[in-house]
């Protein structure tokens, strides 16, 4: 593959020779005894037992080296029915059983999200899928939860902007789980990294694709399958009969974002065919990403967070030329109240939500005018996604309320700023800067 070494030297790209198939007379490259059944990498054929050991070891090593899950902790396994998360649930099942070497010692539960409503599945299909799901769930010994879109009464906006996460988080919080495990595989994360890069989420890649994601505060999301490629998962599931349920793809209403994901997926698979280490290269680069805020970030590491994705805002209006670029392209289309908000001119926030009782009337007589307040509190990529939504969809009340609350707090702080006596430590900082 066209892959570079740590120094600036570029090795030439090279087409790989075709992977040798496990042929007659060949032995497993690991134990040199067993009959090879799986070619993990080109030229590396493992026998069934060695492959199982290799696969399980990866899972345990990922958990072990990160040391984030402690014994007795409640961990919610997010199961989509798909191969990777099914494999993950299976690993946990086996890992908890008495006879496994070094038993896993956390307390798991499983959550399955029924996306049938958003998929446009027919009622019969939904029922059929759910029946399959429950059959599998009944066979496992730990607690399980099935939630669907209607039950949690979340609106379609949140769904298409932060698919599944809010719902799973809700379940985790409701039942006191402190960790959520998702089944994202190496392949899936490599694609996600490239997709998020293209969506303008360069600042958040370490959280979006790393082992742990702490943005929600009380619940930490971990990704134990991130070292397993989709190919390995498929092999394992087939060899060891891991049950899974086919669920159709979510039909999201944010066409741009979904199509960027789809075309990135197609591109990566195409490139992988020509340069077989594409996925592993991208994955290795993702391991080198740091969870660091920009040094020049005006607000510091505890700065305001995006309303939708909860990552620290990555737009500082002052010096970012890309922010300028986005603004100049959008200026012609935004209403004057938005321009004011963008320019930082404080507009008194209305105390009512979305034009309800107590509304001041002139600044936000219509729900559409509370949009500028919300936009100011979104990160770069969430702003871009907002523009992608059909304009008639209203924002859900709880997001508007949060936006209001933050604006009011900021307004109040500004009002009393001149009367606050700063701490001497603060004063020292401001005189130095």
């Amino acid at each position: 593959m066209c892959q570079v070494g740590e120094d600036y030297v570029d090795p030439p790209p090279r087409e790989c020779p075709p992977a040798p198939r496990p042929g007659r007379g060949q032995k497993c490259v690991k134990c040199k005894e067993g009959k090879p059944v799986v070619a993990v990498r080109a030229g590396d054929a493992f026998c069934r037992d060695c492959f199982k050991a290799f696969y399980i070891h990866k899972f345990r090593a990922m958990l072990g080296k990160n040391r984030l899950i402690f014994p007795g902790e409640k961990v919610l396994l997010a199961w989509s029915g798909g191969p990777s998360s099914s494999s993950m649930v299976w690993q946990v099942l086996e890992g908890l059983s008495q006879h496994s070497a070094k038993r896993l010692r956390f307390v798991p539960g499983v959550v399955y999200v029924d996306e049938g409503a958003v998929c446009g599945q027919s009622l019969e299909d939904r029922a059929k899928t759910l029946a399959e799901v429950q059959q599998i769930l009944c066979s496992i010994s730990f607690p399980w939860h099935v939630v669907s879109l209607e039950e949690a009464q979340m609106t379609s906006i949140t769904w298409l902007l932060c698919p599944r996460s809010h719902l799973i988080l809700h379940v985790a919080r409701a039942h006191s789980y402190s960790k959520v495990m998702t089944g994202d595989s190496c392949t899936r994360l490599a694609i996600k990294l490239m997709t998020n890069l293209a969506l303008g989420r360069g600042a958040f890649l370490a959280w979006d694709t790393g082992f742990s994601d702490e943005r929600y505060g009380d619940v930490v999301v971990v990704r134990p399958m991130r070292d397993h490629t989709l190919k390995e998962v498929a092999f394992y599931n087939r060899l060891f009969a891991v049950p899974s349920v086919f669920t159709p793809a979510v039909d999201t209403k944010a066409p741009e974002k979904a199509s960027i994901h789809r075309l990135m997926e197609a591109f990566v698979h195409r490139l992988q065919a020509q340069f077989p280490s594409t996925v592993s290269t991208v994955y290795r680069t993702s391991e080198k990403l740091a969870k660091a805020p920009r040094e020049s970030c005006a607000e510091g590491p505890q700065g305001p967070r995006c309303l939708l994705c909860l990552c620290t805002l990555d737009i500082d209006a002052a010096d970012s030329a890309t922010a300028f670029g986005v603004q100049t392209s959008a200026l012609s289309q935004m209403p004057p109240s938005t321009l004011q908000a963008e320019a930082g001119i404080p507009t008194t926030p209305c105390s009512a939500v979305g034009g309800g009782p107590g509304c001041c009337g002139k600044a936000c007589g219509r729900e559409g005018d509370s949009q500028p307040q919300v936009i100011k509190q979104l990160c770069y990529s969430c702003r871009a996604n907002m523009k992608d939504l059909p304009s008639l969809d209203p924002l859900p009340p709880y997001i508007l309320a949060e936006a209001q609350l933050r604006s009011q707090r900021a307004w109040v702080m500004q009002d009393i700023q001149e009367y606050l006596i700063k701490d001497s430590a603060d004063e020292a900082e401001t005189t130095e800067s």
């Binding site: 740590e6 790989c16 890069l197 360069g202 199509s259 990403l289 740091a290 010096d319 100049t328």
Partner: protein
Amino acid sequence: MPAPTCASCHAARAALRRPRSGQALCGPCFCSAFEAEVLHTVVAGRLLPPGAVVAVGASGGKDSTVLAHVLRELAPRLDITLRLVAVDEGISGYRDAALAAVRRQAARWELPLTVVAYEDLFGGWTMDAVARSTAGTGRSRSCCTFCGVLRRRALEEGARLVGATHIVTGHNADDVAETVLMNFLRGDAARLARGGGLGSPGEGGALPRCRPLQFASQKEVVLYAHFRRLDYFSEECVYAPEAFRGHARDLLKLLEAARPTAALDLVHSAERLALAPAVQPPRPGACSRCGALASRALCQACALLDGLDRGRPRLAIGEREHRGGADVQGTRGRAQAAVQAAAAF
């Protein structure tokens, strides 16, 4: 259906729609907006201080032509002087025609032009000779790697010759976006850690370099050149089809079809990448042979040329038996061996 009116002056008929925003503008208003945005990039980024002598990397192509034209318009306001520096890589047929375009431009703009040739700077090696040398090993794609390294060196030399304090190149948003994609796909963490900003400040004696067109989309560069009726050379380098960048370019085109602001979104991402400290490139020192900026004993240009001279062009790039699957350790080891061998000379 009548054509819309310009959204800026509300007087003239609109002649184009801006690719990113769809805003309808007349020719003059679009050109003013484009120039204003480049001015903002330079001023907000404090790229070219008053009194700077700016060497413009002029290839004769659309980007450097537009860059030179815009900077020339803005020069009085920025209080900078311009010098054109053209690099002759020695690619017959291609570069001669491009250089002819640069000479015409220099005459029209009345700007001093200096041409530096690989042949003179690098001991007789032209790109055609390099390509012949690397073709023997069955790896013609890597001649683009050579060209990139050597061209930066040549530009630096040319800039020093004319007494410049800063170097500017015409890279546009699409170029930067492609580079980010490419660096991720190839796992070049060191470049990712280095790049993304508005160019390099110039460490260890190297001249500061920047890209004033960094936030302009390629389509707008072409539109600007069209409305200002600029004369430029528009053929692709004969070796270009082999480069890996082509994949990144294809991907960017696909992304832009889905979302017109894709290039800018990628530039934004690149600006905010955070890489672990372990990956940061080491503080550069000086090349033991030519004194230029280098992270090892030999700078990359000297290391590459050394390999060429010894008839083993793959040496500095990283020769290895390929079993399938990347072999980072092997590459690094061999590259280090190459540098050590060269240093022992």
